[in-house]
Symmetry: C2
Subunit: 207 residues, 2 copies
């Protein structure tokens, strides 16, 4: 039996560690902002693929919350510190609550209902979220996002990149794309198809 990736993650050693409370909080904030969008998209488009990313991020959030608790306790040396840290832990706990709630949303996809529950029920725009992988012979490999003119040519925005077990949230134009990067993108169907062709190496430039 193939173990899903997010399931593996639960038992895996953490591969890279944020080094400070500041970084932990920053990643938790980024996860919060991403996971809510992803959870709704998974349900709206009946996508187990996106749901898997949500579960993965939920596991990651658990770990971050555990780590931040430990670091906060180690960092508090005075009553004033402790007060500050209590505030930080409150924010961290809220972030975990948000990611758990996002997890609850996608759990619906695993119930064996006759009909998918919500596809298109609350769909209001033409924008779709999709997950795409960069193939090794794509012209996008080792290019900066900015060079590819993705947004101006396709109307697509990259919400996040997963590179092995590391996430880059809201990547800017100066990020260099790598082979096997997984992109979580939002945009119109047609633009996504266009971008996907580039990422698979079927076309050389976006036009």
């Amino acid at each position: 039996m193939k173990i899903p990736r997010w399931k593996k993650a639960e038992f895996e050693e953490i591969e890279y560690e944020p080094t400070s409370i500041r970084e932990l909080l920053r990643e938790m904030k980024n996860i919060c902002e991403l996971i809510v969008d992803l959870a709704y998209s998974a349900i709206l488009f009946n996508s187990k693929e996106i749901a898997e990313e949500v579960k993965y991020l939920e596991v990651r959030m658990d770990k971050l919350n555990y780590q931040i608790r430990i670091m906060a306790m180690l960092a508090a040396r005075s009553a004033e510190d402790a007060e500050k840290m209590a505030g930080i832990l409150q924010i961290a706990q809220a972030a975990e609550t948000i990611s758990n709630a996002a997890g609850d949303i996608v759990k619906l996809l695993s119930y064996k209902l006759t009909h998918p529950i919500l596809p298109h029920l609350i769909k209001e725009s033409d924008e779709v979220i999709r997950k795409m992988t960069i193939h090794k012979n794509s012209a996008a490999v080792n290019k900066k996002i900015g060079e590819l003119r993705i947004s101006s040519e396709t109307g697509v925005r990259i919400l996040a990149i997963r590179r092995k077990n590391k996430w880059i949230y809201g990547p800017k134009g100066d990020i260099t794309l790598k082979e096997n990067d997984i992109l979580i993108c939002i945009g119109p169907e047609e633009g996504l198809n266009q971008l996907n062709k580039l990422l698979k190496g079927e076309i050389e430039v976006l036009t």
Copy 2:
């Protein structure tokens, strides 16, 4: 004593009612996506103004969840319906959990701590969220968002508009701005200042 607006909202009659489960879910989704961003911004910029919007949306979400429960029960006429509705209520509950967690985040601002807790601690970009009101003698009154070229001239994006007690989430270019609209905007400090001048009637066009 002046009662804060969100406090009033708790006891007020609901002024406009979404008419279907579909609309209720859509608004809940919109609130979820907005409230998480707003809650973090409130904390990051130590802004009671933004925190107030979070509380307001949290109250609104409670109401929507209550309404959707009633509508779901009235709508379920068969076992199959009921199964579908149970799924919808699960999503609605998760949405309320998310908005409550966002509320927990901003509660920190009301503790009388010597120092604000987090300003700039997890600030990673130059983007700021700000709330601005359109004055009656602004050139933006009765203009469509698209006509003003806000995004191209200032780099600012409008996240939401509050018009009296109604919210417009992620407004598109074809929305006409009105006197007294409250805009929740995100963007670089300088662009926000520029836009604010336009909304206050201090300048006639964005350049």
